[in-house]
């Protein structure tokens, strides 16, 4: 393992994971956008080819071959069969390009059954892009929390199960990259809610014990704004009393009750999330940076949201 860790934005391989529904893909897109805006050349790769990463940039879903979508920014979708084909072409010099169809199908079959093979084709391709320095940063919209360990630990799994062969001989340099906190980092995305926080804390321990990858940051997405100071809250309590409501009605009419109710809801939602945030902090290593990204009321998804997330991330990272 190489020297001391360096800041997130200076690493060349970032895996972004999170529980389903927390905005993992949005944050991966935001990070890629932030780095590209700084002038770094960035490859953003979607591992579960659902097209959500492309949707975050409002572009056509790319294939395995990276597509330039903006200045300094390339997008690709992982495809293990294409990765295998590239690997065979680069390493085995097997002239299989023309007739790999049935072969790839057969391989796909074994790879599905054999532990770690599909994962190594994924991680291998990403590490390869880093090793060859094709980009300054590779941002990976990686598997969700349930599958990320299998992905990141694939080189070790292969080392344990496969004793010889080409795949085995390739794991060492991949492990070098994955284990190097100067090059590689894992970002866990969560929201200040019960299950995402619980999964984040669990995952943090699993990452430490089952992989060699450094947890470089936890991003808390959709943080609700603090509405009232404690003194403000006391005033708000007076407002929703009968006297306060009567007074407000004389200013703004009968419907003002619903306006107050929405402020009440906002306050309660914020309060319950604050507790989960505290649970999260208590469950993390105190040295792990926790980046808070606000809930976007105006635009929840798409290019506009991606740009806003990039700005918020840059602010949190002091960039």
């Amino acid at each position: 393992v190489a020297g001391p860790s360096i800041p997130l934005a200076e690493r060349s391989l970032l895996f972004v994971t999170g529980k389903g529904g927390v905005g993992k893909t949005s944050i991966a897109a935001g990070l890629a956008q932030m780095l590209a805006a700084e002038g770094r050349s960035v490859l953003a790769c979607e591992v579960d080819a659902k097209g959500d990463l492309a949707a975050a940039f409002e572009v056509e879903a790319p294939g395995f071959k990276p597509a330039a979508i903006a200045e300094h920014l390339w997008l690709m979708s992982m495809d293990t069969e294409a990765s295998l084909r590239e690997y065979l072409r680069l390493n085995l010099k097997i002239p299989v390009v023309g007739r790999i169809g049935p072969l790839a199908k057969a391989f796909d079959f074994v790879a599905t059954a054999a532990p770690g093979v599909k994962e190594i084709l994924t991680v291998g391709k990403l590490c390869y892009e880093v090793r060859e320095r094709h980009y300054d940063t590779v941002v990976v919209d990686a598997s969700a929390t349930g599958h990320i360990i299998g992905q990141l630990a694939a080189p070790q799994a292969i080392n344990d199960l496969v004793k010889v062969g080409l795949i085995r001989s390739q794991t060492d340099w991949m492990l070098d990259i994955l284990s190097d906190p100067q090059r590689c980092g894992l970002v866990i995305v969560t929201t200040p809610e019960e299950m995402p926080v619980a999964e984040t804390v669990e995952l943090r321990h699993a990452v430490a014990t089952e992989t060699t990858v450094d947890l470089v940051a936890v991003v808390v997405n959709r943080v609700l704004p603090e509405r009232f100071s404690p003194r403000g809250e006391a005033v708000f309590a007076r407002l929703i009393s009968k006297e306060g409501s009567d007074g407000l009605r004389s200013i703004a009419g009968d419907e003002i009750g619903a306006v107050l109710a929405s402020a009440s809801l906002a306050t309660t939602l914020r309060r319950s999330r604050t507790q989960h945030l505290a649970t999260l902090r208590a469950g993390l290593d105190p040295t792990t940076p926790v980046l808070l990204v606000p809930y976007l009321f105006q635009r929840a998804d798409g290019l506009r949201a991606t740009h806003q997330l990039a700005e918020h991330l840059a602010e949190e990272l002091d960039r």
Binding site: F109, H147, G150, R238, I251, L265
Partner: protein, 387 residues
């Protein structure tokens, strides 16, 4: 949005299996538990909720301790404490993938020797965790087993989070395909026939160079053992598929009103219908209050935003607070309303675009606290039934 006039109570009262599915993070697990709790308390019968990964506090509330496949009756006194006299009973079970696979191998292995060879194979754990969407398959397999026991009037299932939301539907047939595939036969019997041997040669050569002969041999041996259970597996997976398509089974699609989950939910509902599976209800959780998009309320908010200094001062005096502080609080109240009004309008538009088809549409309001006890489940359940 259209939707039928049926209700969720009707669905829960008439079906034997209700499967909750949908994108992650929308409250699927809680919704399944709430539907089961309501069915048990109001509709009667012996109700089981089969859940995959409940929040710790919810699992505690249901009396589910640790992991494991045991079915745990929910203590009726918990209902009584919540002020409810249940007509039926509620039980809960979690899904332990490893334990379920072991049970399946034990049930189908032709003899003890094969069983042990599989259970002790070093690849077994890895493979059961990964291959052919093993989680998804085993969830449906376990559902089949529980249903076949004849112990339950209604089973409500919470589906596992999957990479592809539909994996669990395909899992049984994929497993059958897997066992009956020519590839598997080539792999495990390369020398049995010259013709097959020749056909598999390029594959074996490449696989050898990539994976190494020993690893390939390990895999082969493992699948040879599994092959002996072929008939049992295929028959079982066909039964599971039939059960999912049976008229006693219905699916409920759970989502929030945010664009991305809703898009996924719509895809899901369409796919279920395309497979001739019954989509009984669509449940939209975390729906913001309608008042947020009510023009009259927006006018009141504007009026408050445009209040005069004198009005603020008068109100401050009336309720006995400092005017400057009140001024800030009122600004925050307006800002807070404006923020959520934007979200409410956007989500309302998404819901309007969302095509429900024949399914019952149920909207559940955004609750102001997490659901982690029976009280909460019953509150949520009340909203479900009211829809």
């Amino acid at each position: 949005v259209s939707g039928s006039t049926g209700s969720l109570a009707q669905l829960l009262g008439s079906r034997e299996i209700v499967i909750a599915c949908g994108p992650g993070g929308v409250g699927k697990t809680t919704t399944a538990a709430a539907a089961a709790a309501m069915a048990a308390s109001r509709l009667g019968g012996d109700v089981l909720v089969l859940t995959v990964d409940p929040a710790r506090r919810l699992a505690d509330a249901l009396g589910l301790k640790g992991i494991g496949n045991d079915v745990t009756p929910v203590d009726p006194s918990i209902f009584e404490a919540a002020g409810v006299h249940p007509v039926g009973t509620l039980s809960a079970a979690m899904l332990d993938t490893k334990q379920s696979w072991d049970a399946l191998i034990e049930a189908h292995a032709p003899n003890a020797e094969t069983r042990d060879r599989i259970l002790t194979n070093p690849l077994y754990k890895n493979i059961t965790e990964r291959f052919v969407q093993s989680h998804d398959y085993i969830a449906m397999e376990r559902l089949y087993e529980l249903h076949s026991s004849g112990r339950w009037d209604l089973i409500v299932v919470d589906t596992p989070p999957t990479r592809n939301a539909l994996d669990f539907l395909d899992a049984p047939s994929r497993l059958a395909d897997f066992f009956s595939s020519r590839l598997l036969r080539w792999l495990i019997a390369p020398s049995r026939s010259t013709l097959l041997g020749m056909a598999s040669r390029p594959f074996t050569q490449v696989a050898d160079r990539i994976l190494g002969t020993q690893f390939l041999a390990d895999i082969t041996e493992f699948f040879m053992s599994l092959q002996s259970m072929y008939d049992g597996f295929v028959e079982r997976s066909e039964s599971v598929s039939r059960l999912l398509a049976d008229e006693r089974t219905s699916f409920i699609v759970v989502s929030s009103s945010e664009t991305v989950p809703l898009r996924e939910a719509e895809f899901f509902a369409t796919e279920l219908a395309r497979r001739n599976l019954d989509v009984g209800a669509v449940i939209l959780n975390k729906v913001l209050p309608e008042t947020l998009s009510d023009p009259a309320v927006a006018t009141a908010s504007r009026r408050l935003a445009e209040r005069s200094e004198a009005e603020t001062q008068a109100l401050a005096t009336r309720i006995g607070v400092e005017a400057a502080m009140l001024d800030r609080v009122l600004d925050t109240v307006v800002k807070s309303f404006d923020d959520y009004a934007v979200v409410a309008r956007r989500e309302e538009a998404s819901r309007e675009r969302f095509a429900v088809g024949e399914a019952t549409l149920v909207t559940v309001p955004q609750l102001d606290r997490d659901v982690h006890d029976l009280d909460g489940l019953l509150e949520l359940g009340g909203h479900l039934m009211g829809g």
